[in-house]
């Protein structure tokens, strides 16, 4: 469904992402992990059209979308959320979600109804009339998710929807993400919370210092020395192996 090949992005002298490739199959939940500053968000931004890649190609449902504007990509069914949530602070929860819903529902009533249905799905049904600015962090994360879902995408890119949440809130949001996939939307998610990725994703890519260093099933990756080193530092894999052996 999504094929990104050889994506590269430079900011001045800094190589943020170098020759990174990702493939996402229809109906999957795919994870993208990596330590801080690995270039995950930059990679997302290139796929969703917020940054133009210096090299590489993005193909979505067989169509080359490299360099298209984010709004055009969203109209084709690929939507992203922001790690730093960007609610329309002056509007209520319902109005926020309705703005996403308007993409497929021109009528105001239809959009508001669609917004309410989406709100139920992410667990915001009780807070429809609240100003978005009054939501808790967890509430804002759900709103970010709801707004994106309301555009009725076929692929959703989730940028750290669990960052900043406590363990209970994380446990609550995991079934929501599973529900999104069950509803027919493919998911690509960036996550810091390893455990969450392991329980959600069937396929995981690992990015480190702008390069894709590993790809595979979660269970295999936790044994991959390169991945362990990337997360825990140089020599960690050896030490861990020694401790176990």
């Amino acid at each position: 469904m999504l094929v990104a090949e050889g994506l590269t992005k430079r900011f001045g002298g800094l190589l943020a992402v170098s020759d990174a490739s990702v493939t996402v199959a229809k109906g999957a939940i795919v994870g993208l992990i990596g330590p801080n500053g690995a270039g995950k968000t930059t990679l997302f931004a290139m796929i969703a059209g917020f940054h133009r890649p210096d090299a590489g190609r993005v193909t979505f449902q067989g169509e080359d979308i490299t360099g298209l504007a984010p709004e055009e990509i969203c109209r084709r069914g690929l939507v992203r959320t922001f790690q730093l949530v960007q609610p329309f602070a002056g509007l209520t929860v319902r109005e926020n979600i309705a703005i996403g819903a308007h993409l497929r529902h021109p009528g105001r009533t239809a959009a508001l109804e669609a917004a309410e249905r989406v709100a139920e799905r992410v667990g915001l049904g009780a807070e429809l009339t609240k100003p978005a600015a009054d939501l808790t962090i967890a509430g804002r994360k759900r709103l970010e998710l709801a707004r994106a879902l309301a555009t009725e995408p076929t692929l959703i890119l989730l940028d750290e929807v669990m960052a900043g949440l406590n363990p209970t809130e994380i446990a609550e949001i995991i079934p929501v993400v599973q529900g999104i996939r069950a509803g027919g939307v493919t998911v690509l998610l960036i996550e810091h919370v390893m455990q969450a990725v392991m329980s959600l994703a069937e396929d995981v890519f690992v990015l480190n210092q702008g390069r894709m260093i590993a790809h595979g099933a979660p269970a295999d990756l936790v044994r991959d020395p390169q991945v362990i080193e990337a997360y825990l530092g140089h020599g960690a894999a050896e030490r861990l192996a020694g401790a176990h052996g």
């Binding site: 709004e71 969203c74 002056g90 703005i99 959009a111």
Partner: protein
């Protein structure tokens, strides 16, 4: 709540000519309503769209000059000339919007560039022959509905009531339509709007064209009302200032705010005239003071404050 306020105001508006038929009384209401409508034009772009223009005189003046020039120099029927003025205002707005938004101007930069365009138009209108230059342009007196001139003030007054109602309806439409929802999304957060598939540039362009066509309409009506234009009247800085004062005082991004604001400000200006006499500039001093006080204590304007109070 605000719907009730709207009907109340409309009823009051229709009663005003019954209170007194005097020319001064009606002229006061006519100018107040004209600026209420101009304020609504500004409100469409700034209140709903978040783009603060300091140069709405560019659209107002263009509408006024096109209407006047078409009828005076080319003998076009004033109603058709007026339509030309409305379209001209909208086209100038779209053109200025196209260049400004294409190059990503926002905030102070957008305010500055609109101000500069209005100034360029003022200097040009003062210099070229077709506008009558420094002497201005006089529309010959030809009373009659077919000439867009009315013998009695009351007819003009009702025309302005209709215009203001149409402005409020445009704002209400924004509050209940997809275009309006998109416009508000652009005001709140452009990046988030784009991520949700909103074509930000087009939305802003449509908003400035609509806003400018409305400002052009106000200019056309002004020309027909006073039958005289010069560069300072049409493109002067006070026009741009009047356009933004009413909505801020009355309530940015609310349908009735510009109307309430214009009535408050002009009422205050008139009261001050009664107390200390007609000193030029005095009403604007008061407007400026009211603007700052409102920003300090009621940043959501009168209608915004009423709405919050009504929700409690």
């Amino acid at each position: 709540m605000s719907r009730a306020l709207g009907w109340l105001m409309l009823a009051a508006a229709l009663a005003i000519p019954q209170v007194s038929g005097s020319s001064a009384w009606l002229t006061f209401w006519i100018t107040t309503l004209l600026f209420a409508y101009l304020g609504q034009a500004w409100n469409v772009l700034a209140g709903y769209g978040g783009q603060f223009s300091f140069g709405h005189a560019a659209f107002f003046g263009t509408g006024a000059y096109i209407a006047a020039i078409l009828q005076v120099r080319y003998g076009v029927n004033p109603w058709i000339a007026g339509l030309g003025g409305v379209a001209g205002g909208g086209i100038v707005g779209a053109a200025i919007g196209w260049v400004s938004f294409r190059y990503g101007l926002r905030g102070s930069y957008f305010a500055l560039v609109t101000l500069a365009f209005a100034e360029v138009f003022r200097v040009l209108a003062n210099a070229v022959a077709i506008t009558g230059g420094g002497q201005g342009l006089l529309i010959p007196l030809k009373p009659g509905v077919e000439h867009f001139q009315f013998v009695d003030r009351a007819s003009f007054y009702y025309l302005l009531v209709a215009l203001v109602v149409s402005g409020v309806l445009i704002a209400r439409w924004l509050e209940a339509s997809r275009f309006g929802a998109w416009l508000v999304a652009v005001r709140e957060n452009e990046d988030a709007a784009r991520a949700l598939g909103i074509r930000v540039f087009r939305v802003k362009l449509a908003a400035i064209a609509l806003s400018a066509a409305m400002a052009g309409t106000a200019g056309v009506v002004y020309a027909q009302l006073f039958l005289y234009l010069d560069a300072g009247v049409a493109y002067g800085g006070h026009v741009s200032v009047e356009a933004l004062l009413g909505p801020i005082v009355g309530g940015l991004g609310t349908a009735l705010g510009p109307v309430v604001g214009a009535i408050l400000l002009h009422g205050l200006g008139e009261a001050a005239k009664g107390v200390v006499g007609a000193t030029p500039g005095l009403n604007l001093v008061l407007y400026g003071v009211v603007l700052v006080i409102m920003l300090r204590f009621l940043p959501n304007g009168v209608v915004g404050w009423l709405k919050r109070w009504g929700q409690r």
